[in-house]
């Protein structure tokens, strides 16, 4: 089955991973900007990162027949430096018309601080002024519920936001309902220890249905499995779910959501 991984950080992965993903049926992926594992020191550091995301990675993916798309932002982990965050936000428009840029992301909260919330709102302002879609990171572990509710508060209080153009990612059992009920898209991240397993993701599909729901690997430089989406496909098949339902989650839904971005020029495989 062809599939799209809507959230994976390929700058942290090897070229061998691209080959493996292609063999597993991956034909497209989207890569949100994220934390490099250290705080970057200057706006030029981000400019170079955005060049890598919008140029080099798409060429590396294309070698294996995978179409690469991306999202731009400064991650919440670096938002405590508000001055640098504002410089980066001011620089992002240089790249918004680059091939494959789908919008602003992954913005969000990390420790649910005031500075993180301020930088999140300023990213939202940029997205509204430039008519971009938004991909949102929700916090980890004990901070997830509080942070997700804060993010929803900020989104819902902004009447400029078209909710069907916002993806709230890393939802789990305690956060999926408010996200979907508010009309946003929801992403389930399949991680070996934290976040969600393929079995729990399948449980949530069974409980909430496939509407506005996606799964991703969020493969990055930490413990993660870039082939987690095929694991989810296998889990769904083991439970007797039909190919149409599985395909909707792993292929059709990403196409529908990404298709709302002006730079999404996906070519379906023949």
């Amino acid at each position: 089955m062809y599939y799209i991984d809507p959230h994976i950080h390929m700058v942290s992965r090897t070229t061998d991973d691209y080959e493996t993903l292609a063999k597993m049926g991956c034909v497209g992926l989207s890569e949100p900007a994220f934390w490099a594992g250290y705080d970057r020191g200057s706006v030029d550091g981000f400019r170079d990162y955005f060049r890598q995301l919008t140029d080099f990675e798409s060429r590396r993916a294309a070698i294996y027949g995978i179409q690469h798309f991306t999202w731009l932002c400064i991650n919440a982990k670096e938002a405590e430096n508000v001055e640098l965050s504002r410089d980066v936000i001011a620089m992002i428009p240089e790249f918004l018309n680059a091939k494959g840029v789908l919008g602003i992301g992954e913005i969000g909260l990390n420790k649910n601080t005031r500075n993180e919330a301020i930088v999140f709102l300023e990213h939202i302002d940029l997205a509204m002024k430039t008519n971009e879609q938004i991909l949102i990171h929700t916090p980890h572990l004990e901070d997830k519920y509080q942070g997700t509710r804060m993010i929803l508060d900020m989104l819902i209080s902004d009447n400029r936001i078209e909710r069907h153009r916002v993806l709230v990612d890393h939802v789990e059992e305690h956060t999926i309902r408010p996200v979907l009920e508010a009309g946003f898209w929801a992403g389930m991240t399949l991680y070996p220890v934290s976040k969600c397993t393929p079995a729990r993701a399948a449980d949530m599909v069974e409980m909430y249905g496939p509407e506005r729901l996606m799964v991703n690997s969020a493969g990055d430089w930490g413990p993660s499995k870039p082939t987690a989406v095929p694991d989810f496909i296998l889990e769904m098949r083991r439970r007797g779910h039909g190919e149409e339902l599985i395909r909707r989650i792993v292929y059709d839904n990403p196409l529908t959501f990404f298709g709302q971005s002006r730079n999404f020029d996906f070519q379906a495989p023949c």
Partner: protein, 87 residues
């Protein structure tokens, strides 16, 4: 969306994985008990105990309730608490 299998069929499939996970938890708790220094004065120990008790309760949303047990409190007045700028 309905399940494709009966409860009995799911129990058949899940029995060994659940058994293995319970033994992993039991052995981790034993490991803490065997270690030196006595029982740790750490709220996470109580949190684990409460979570295990929660598993024995009835209801279809145990996973959600366990998640909330391990979550920080959400207060809807957070914008005032954080003194967020007016928009």
């Amino acid at each position: 969306m309905s399940q494709k299998f009966t409860a009995q069929a799911i129990l058949e499939r899940e029995y060994l994985p659940v058994r293995a996970k319970i033994i992993e938890i039991a052995s981790a708790l034993d490991r803490i008990d065997r270690a030196t220094g006595g029982p740790p004065d750490d709220p996470r120990g109580k949190q684990i105990q409460t979570a295990l008790e929660l598993l024995l309760e009835n209801g279809p949303d145990r996973a959600e309730r366990v998640q909330l047990l391990f979550s920080r409190h959400y207060d809807e007045t957070w914008p005032a608490t954080l003194q967020m700028p007016n928009r």
